[in-house]
Symmetry: C2
DNA sequence: GACTTTGTTTGACACTTGTCAAGAAATCTC
DNA sequence: GAGATTTCTTGACAAGTGTCAAACAAAGTC
């Protein structure tokens, strides 16, 4: 029962501050290791034991820090979320021209596609799973909103630099760009050859059409 | 071993034509039942026993007609494929004006979203799974191409009726429309309220931008 | 009607899964 | 350093999985 009290939202009165810090550190280490395995195998094929095996911990530890599987996955997703949505912020802030913004965006986009393929695969997997597993939905919705806001920042800044207005609203813009990106992720899993080039070509073809000058 | 010979591509010399017909009929019946369960539970959570339980057959029969689980799923996907890509053909052929085509397309699109939600959920699930399960890839690629061609038929006919040219190539157009549709499918699973209306608004907002007049 | 082929049921197998609990080890507290 | 608390290991459990094979039923063949 003590494990239960610890594993949910931190509602307990912890004895020492350094204690809950250590717990949080362990959870993060577990989550990072779990994310590696999840990205490799996907949600369905990843068991708690597999996660433990690919880490420096035993499978009992996993259950000591997380109530159950969903709790772990959910934690992983929330942890992942904090990293992924700030990817383009620097580009948006530093770019002085529309072309510079477009180029920077595309560069970062292909970079993350190549360097963090497993994470993107996992994300699309989890989003699909959320249609069947209700408990995943809140986290998926939150990330989707984060990504939508991110795309919107890029598009509206792009419009600003080009001296126009976005021609579509935020959800539409996100769905369009996400469609292109998911196509690239799926294609990259099957055969990486030329995928990034095609993605760049398509996005830069579409982006101007989403602006009214 | 006889089951093995039968379950792959039909490479055997069948004794009687009526025999292989009956086999094919059983396989189709199994596939239809399996698709119902798969659409409800998703790929990961669907076991052969669950499929058998939700059908009039026992779990042994499943294995009699299909070599293994992947063989069954693969057959289901190919069977599903034959149904889904012709959905809009009638609209394309009969529509006399661009508006009529657009309206017909949107109507069919929302109709299939609502009436065949489980199938669409399954499709996006399977496409995500194909990133992890290599054996699923050929079928997924085939369906993706079919859908891409379908969207392309609509878009080029639309351009023709409006007296212009498609402004993007087929894969791009497919990715864009698919992004909007997937967003609707995921959103529909979470909360159906107003999803179709938003989908219609977004698609009809985007479609004209994909044409140069 | 006996015999062979085809189809189906049933029960079993080896294995993996999430979950848990009892106890060992490490850490902290005084 | 003794005692209490936290952390971790280990082994077990019940349930569920894909797969298969042997017994049984049905249908077709001569």
């Amino acid at each position: 029962m003590s494990s239960n009290a610890l594993s949910g939202e931190i509602a307990d009165r912890p004895a020492r501050v350094s204690g809950i810090d250590k717990i949080e550190r362990r959870r993060i280490a577990l989550a990072e290791s779990a994310l590696k395995t999840l990205g490799e195998l996907g949600y369905a094929r990843t068991s708690l034991r597999e996660i433990a095996n690919n880490s420096e911990f035993t499978h009992g530890v996993v259950h000591y820090y997380f109530r159950d599987k969903i709790d772990l996955i959910s934690y992983c997703v929330r942890y992942y979320k904090t990293k992924c949505a700030k990817r383009y912020d620097e580009v948006v802030e530093t770019a002085a021209t529309a072309d510079e913004l477009g180029a920077g965006f595309l560069a970062k986009m292909t970079q993350t596609l190549v360097e963090e393929t497993p994470m993107h695969r996992l994300w699309y997997d989890l989003r699909a799973q959320s249609m069947f597993e209700e408990q995943l939905r809140p986290d998926v919705v939150a990330i989707d909103q984060l990504l939508e806001a991110m795309i919107w920042r890029i598009l509206s800044r792009y419009a600003e630099l080009v001296g126009g207005e976005p021609a579509v609203d935020a959800p539409t813009a996100y769905a369009l760009v996400d469609g292109l990106f998911e196509q690239a992720v799926v294609g990259y899993a099957a055969d990486p050859e030329g995928v990034t080039d095609r993605l760049v070509a398509r996005v830069s073809q579409v982006l101007p059409k989403l602006i009214t000058t």
